[in-house]
Every structure is written in C-alpha cells, then in structure tokens.
C-alpha cells in the first residue's frame, strides 16, 4: 500500500500486467519491476471470473 503522494516520492516499484515491453523499458531505466504473463481469467468467461472473485 502506497498512496499516490508516496508513489511520487518514489522509488517506483512496479508490477507489469500484459505487454512485456513495458517491463523491459522499466528495467532498462533501472526501475524495479516484476512481469506478469497475464492470461484471461477463467479462460475469458467473465461470469465465471466474477464468481472466482468471490472465491479466490
């Protein structure tokens, strides 16, 4: 948990969900980042995904 004000004080510690080039560019700037190879939740079934949100 860090408020936006705290984020601006830095340093940025990022989680990148999706396009890996964004993580790579952060890494090249020396920013701490962890890449998540995201896949659609519940195989893309949003109703199931909502159910999962309650269960997981």
């Amino acid at each position: 948990m860090a408020t936006f004000a705290e984020l601006l004080e830095g340093p940025v510690v990022a989680i990148n969900l999706g396009l890996s080039m964004f993580a790579e560019s952060l890494e090249s700037q020396g920013v701490e980042v962890v890449q998540v190879d995201w896949t659609p939740p519940a195989g893309g079934d949003l109703e199931l995904a909502e159910l999962l949100d309650q269960l997981l």
Binding site: T39, P41, D45, E50, L51, L52, Q54, L56
Partner: protein, 415 residues
C-alpha cells in the same frame, strides 16, 4: 467466517488428509471377496458412468473380454447380446472404492490389489495392469494373461504377502519418485523395489517352485506392475479428502474414452464431465494418430494425488513423452504448482532441489489460470480388439472445472 477463509480452511484439511495417508498393500484377492457391492453379473469400468451403447470401441472390447473371462458368454457375439439386453450391469469403478487402468474393467473373479490407508482406515482397490485386454483386446491370447493372474500369479503373491503381513508402500513410492519414476507411465524403480520386497517374502513363505519361479518371472519382468499399486494407493489417499464442505480440491479425475470426469471434495460424489480429449501421443510401430481412441482410464488418480505428469520433471526416462527436453518436463511440474494447494512434505523431486510434488488440485486456480491438470497416459485404439498402441500427454478439459465451479457457487449460494 468469510467464504474465502472457509474454503482455505477446508482445502488445508483436504490436503492434510491426502498428505497424511499411509498406504499399505494388505491383500491381493478376488474382487467379489473384497470390493463392496461387487456381486452378480457386474463389470465395473474406468471413468464416469456411461451406458453400454455410448461406450467407445476399446471399452466395449475390454468389457466383452471381461464377460468371456467370467464365462458368462461363450463368444463375443453372445457377450454383446447380453450387454445390449442389459443382462450384465456396468458401473464405474469409482463407485466401488476402486480404480482400473485404461478400460479398467473388473469382474467378481478377477483378483485385485487391496490397499489400506492405515492413517484413515479406508481401503481402495485396483485391477491387474497388462497391455492387452484393458486396451480392448478380447482375444484368447489376451484373456490368457487374466487367467494366469487369477490362477497363478495373484494367489502366489497373496500367500507371500500374508506371510509378511502386508507391505508398506510409502517408502517404495518415496524412493521411486527419487529414482526417476513418476508413477503413471514410468514404474521401473517402483516395480523393482516391489519385486525385491516380494521375492524375499515368496522365498520365506516357502512356496513350491512351480508357483515361485513363474511368479518371480512375472514380477521381475513386468515393469508396470506397480501401476496397479500406485493407482490403488492414490485412490486410498484421495478418498479421505472427499466430502469436506467448502473444499474446492479435486478428489478424482477419470475418463471412460467418451467423457472426462472430476469429483470435488466440497461437492461430494457428483461427476463434472466434458468430452474426453484427444491425447497428444507417440505411437507404436504400425499405429498412427488416426487410430487412437480418446483419453481413457482411472489412472489419472495418480495425477490427482500429485504423481504422473505432475512430477514428470523428476522422470527423465520418459522425457520423450513431453517433447524430449528436461526443461519442458520441469516446466510442467512448475506449472502444476500454480493450480495446486500445497507441496508434499515427503514425496519430493530431487531435480527441483527436492521440492515437494504439487498436490491438491484447486478448481478455483484451474479456472482462474486456465491451466488444466496435465496427465501422461497410454493410448488405446478407437476400435475394439487391439492392445496398447501408444502413449502421450493430455490436458484435463477445462470445462469440467468450470462446471464444478458453477455448481460450487450454486451449492454455497454465491451470486
């Protein structure tokens, strides 16, 4: 308590039960003597329930073989006529605390492995493993293997087993997992360890040479003999984890060649099914992918308790099943950790730094990640009358897990 906490608590309990099981081989006895409900003209089979007319070729062939083996019919045609009339009952093995490889057929006179879970007192059963009749081959030659088992090998092993008062399987399983077995398709180490233990027992039991020698030959040359024991052990370990309210842990995965089915602890004995998938396989000479039937057998009970393809990273001997490189095999084992609740404290894989095997498939995680349990399996022909034709890898259909999750939401009254 929040539903999430209820689930976590229930899953911890389910995994605790699976992990604490102590499988011991206590008997090798005719099914009719030991399996609950194994009475009259009953053939039990692999996978979720299915009527005769919907069964696949290999399953039909194996059931015909089982009927002929019992002497309920004198010819295949006669057997089919009986089956079509419903004169022979067909029920899933899993409804009888039992499992069987491939078609998995069992009838009353067939001896089965009897494994007792000493930690919980429950028993589970599995049939003999061979590579002909259970794949749908009902020829005289194929049935000869069943008769040898019934008349010579099983009774001899039974005497030796009684002499030593049972055989603890946990040490064999633990060692075998560290010797390159994954306990579904590779049992070279476990079968040797089992043969070692039984050889001494047979000699000590002072059996006649005419029984001792052929049985010794059988167990020392059958490098999949332990599959029957692993499956019975797997079933014995998984059953105590059934029926824990709120648990989302899978307690059985099985296939009948037409449908793939799973059971989930918090959802009791209901099957959640989807069409059986095609196996991505390697074939014996003379067979091709077009010949293959769909995924079949109760043997996925091994993956259910964390063996088989879940621990294939530890089984370099069958790397060719997964594409050939250790990295690919390891990737499967790592991937399975994402959909399981825990790692086993005793069953470990040296190649992953002695990490415990992934155990306790959580349907929530499967649906969430879209990562389906991976299974390594043998392949039967789509038509009746053939022996084993190949082996390969298959993913459990995601659909089963989605259906189970929806049922879970309904049962526990969630939007």
């Amino acid at each position: 308590m929040d539903i999430r906490q209820e689930i976590e608590k229930a899953n911890e309990e389910a995994v605790r039960r699976m992990v604490q099981g102590e499988p011991v081989l206590v008997d090798i006895a005719p099914a009719g003597e030991v399996i609950p409900g194994m009475e009259g003209k009953l053939v039990t089979h692999a996978g979720p329930p299915l009527p005769w007319k919907e069964m696949c070729g290999a399953m039909k062939g194996a059931i015909i073989g089982q009927v002929l083996y019992e002497g309920w019919a004198q010819s295949a045609d006669e057997a089919v006529a009986l089956l079509e009339r419903g004169a022979i009952r067909l029920e899933p093995n899993h409804h009888h605390q039992t499992v069987g490889p491939m078609a998995g057929t069992i009838s009353p006179s067939a001896p089965v492995w009897v494994v007792e879970n000493r930690a919980f007192g429950n028993r589970a059963f599995c049939r003999q493993v061979e590579s002909h009749q259970q794949f749908g081959n009902y020829s005289e030659e194929a049935l000869q293997g069943l008769r040898m088992w019934r008349d010579l090998w099983a009774p001899t092993l039974r005497k030796a087993l009684h002499h030593i008062g049972g055989l603890n399987l946990k040490p064999i399983i633990t060692q075998a997992l560290q010797m390159g077995d994954e306990l579904h398709n590779r049992h070279s180490a476990a079968s040797s360890l089992f043969a070692n233990a039984m050889a001494v027992a047979m000699v000590e039991a002072d059996l006649p040479r005419s029984e001792l020698l052929p049985t010794l030959q059988y167990i020392t040359q059958h490098n999949l003999i332990f599959l029957g024991l692993a499956m019975a052990a797997g079933k014995a370990l998984a059953d105590p984890a059934m029926n824990i309210p709120y648990s989302t842990i899978v307690t059985a995965m099985c296939r009948n060649g037409v449908e793939f089915g799973i059971r989930v602890s918090g959802l009791g004995e209901e099957w959640f099914t989807a069409p059986a998938p095609v196996v991505d396989g390697l074939y014996l000479p003379g067979y091709r992918a077009e010949d293959a039937g769909l995924d079949m057998g109760d043997s996925a009970i091994t993956e259910t308790v964390g063996w088989g393809a879940f621990t294939i990273g530890g089984a370099p001997g069958i790397l060719s099943l997964v594409g050939g490189t250790p990295e690919e095999a390891l990737a499967y084992s790592r991937e399975m950790r994402k959909i399981t609740a825990a790692t086993h404290p005793v069953y470990r894989m040296p190649i992953l730094g002695f990490a415990g095997i992934p155990i306790g498939i959580d349907i929530r995680k499967v649906v969430q990640t879209g990562i389906s349990p991976i299974i390594d399996t043998a392949i039967a022909h789509k038509e009746p009358g053939h022996s084993i034709i190949g082996a390969g890898l298959v993913r459990a259909p995601l659909e089963c897990f989605k259906k189970a999750l929806i049922a879970f939401g309904r049962k526990y009254q969630l939007g």
